[in-house]
Symmetry: C3
Amino acid sequence: MSSFSDSPANEAPFRVIEDCRFGEDVVVRQFANLYGCEVGGGTRIGSFVEIQAEALIGRRCKIQSHAFICAGVTIGDGVFVGHGVIFVNDKRPRATAGDGGLAKPEDWELLPISIGDEATIGSAAVILGGVEIGAGAMIGAGAVVSKDVPEGATVVGIPARARDQQ
Amino acid sequence: MSSFSDSPANEAPFRVIEDCRFGEDVVVRQFANLYGCEVGGGTRIGSFVEIQAEALIGRRCKIQSHAFICAGVTIGDGVFVGHGVIFVNDKRPRATAGDGGLAKPEDWELLPISIGDEATIGSAAVILGGVEIGAGAMIGAGAVVSKDVPEGATVVGIPARARDQQ
Amino acid sequence: MSSFSDSPANEAPFRVIEDCRFGEDVVVRQFANLYGCEVGGGTRIGSFVEIQAEALIGRRCKIQSHAFICAGVTIGDGVFVGHGVIFVNDKRPRATAGDGGLAKPEDWELLPISIGDEATIGSAAVILGGVEIGAGAMIGAGAVVSKDVPEGATVVGIPARARDQQ
């Protein structure tokens, strides 16, 4: 049975951690900004990372510096999320709603994203809302992923395609 | 008449805010780094955002985490600036000037950028110096925008082109 | 002869600087995260920058905000590293090793990167492991550089190619 705690295993300066659940031996570096998320045991989270409420991160993942993980993202076990990776959960984001006020959560549809176990997301990749990435898949650095990626596949480029289709 | 203040409406830890002007009800999250800029009423600014001196941000905008907004950028009202968006104000940046010393402001030409009202800049997009983006335009996630974008147009890719030209 | 110190020339809040060596007149902005690196005299390092152990930065460089410089990167003198530039030192990163535990340094091969004097890396570019960029070269904003770039050449796009080959 795994047990959860409201703080990571290490100490570091300049962190904001609010209402999160951490498995055992989680390491969160300085300048991390986490709120409302759940992080599995053994995972390491780098500096300048933001993880939003209702994101779920598995066990033994590496979430590298400058990554942004939004609400609606579910990440399996053993996943590598490279530096500066950005997840997007809204197809046509707008700052304001029809009434001219700021857009509120009920003004848009959250598009979930799931990342299978042992997948790798290369640095600076962008994963668009609604995408499923299969277990063991590898996403090239700088790719923009707009479609599902099968288990074990490697995709690169903008938009991301299987390497041999390029 | 709008009134301005030298601090945002909310409190947050780990912020640097120097010589800025804020309209009413501006929210600035932790780990923001703002200096010398003006931000219109109702706008929300995320974590790990840097906004440089002489940038102008309109009212009711959303400036998402990890965005970088440089000097010379003027953003209208109701604009969505996605996570990790980067503005560039120099066509051929160099670290040093001809004399071997560090380049100083007078060693390069600042290329202004303007973003029309209600436009959306997708996450991780890069907007190059000298570009005008029209009102209501939508820039795809990860695009590199090197030319003007007309009002209401949608552009994607590197370099960014109208969707139906891809 | 140059002399080194364990702190930069300026003061700033919210910095983490551990086991670094700085030449004279180095400026490091707030929200920087540096450990185990060496930075030459006169270089300026922006906010939200992370520089890892065993990275070497030359003299009179500009390392702009949100850049990530990893172990194995050697940067010459007078180099411009744009905002959000990311270096990668591992061709096929994985979170875990064959035994299911977190990958450790000995589980992967570090691919070094070298950047020649007076080169410019445009904002949001990604430089892959094993690449050499020649002196005076210019890398376009948003490019993903997967091959060596000759001295003085300009490359753009994903993957980066000489401008006239696009």
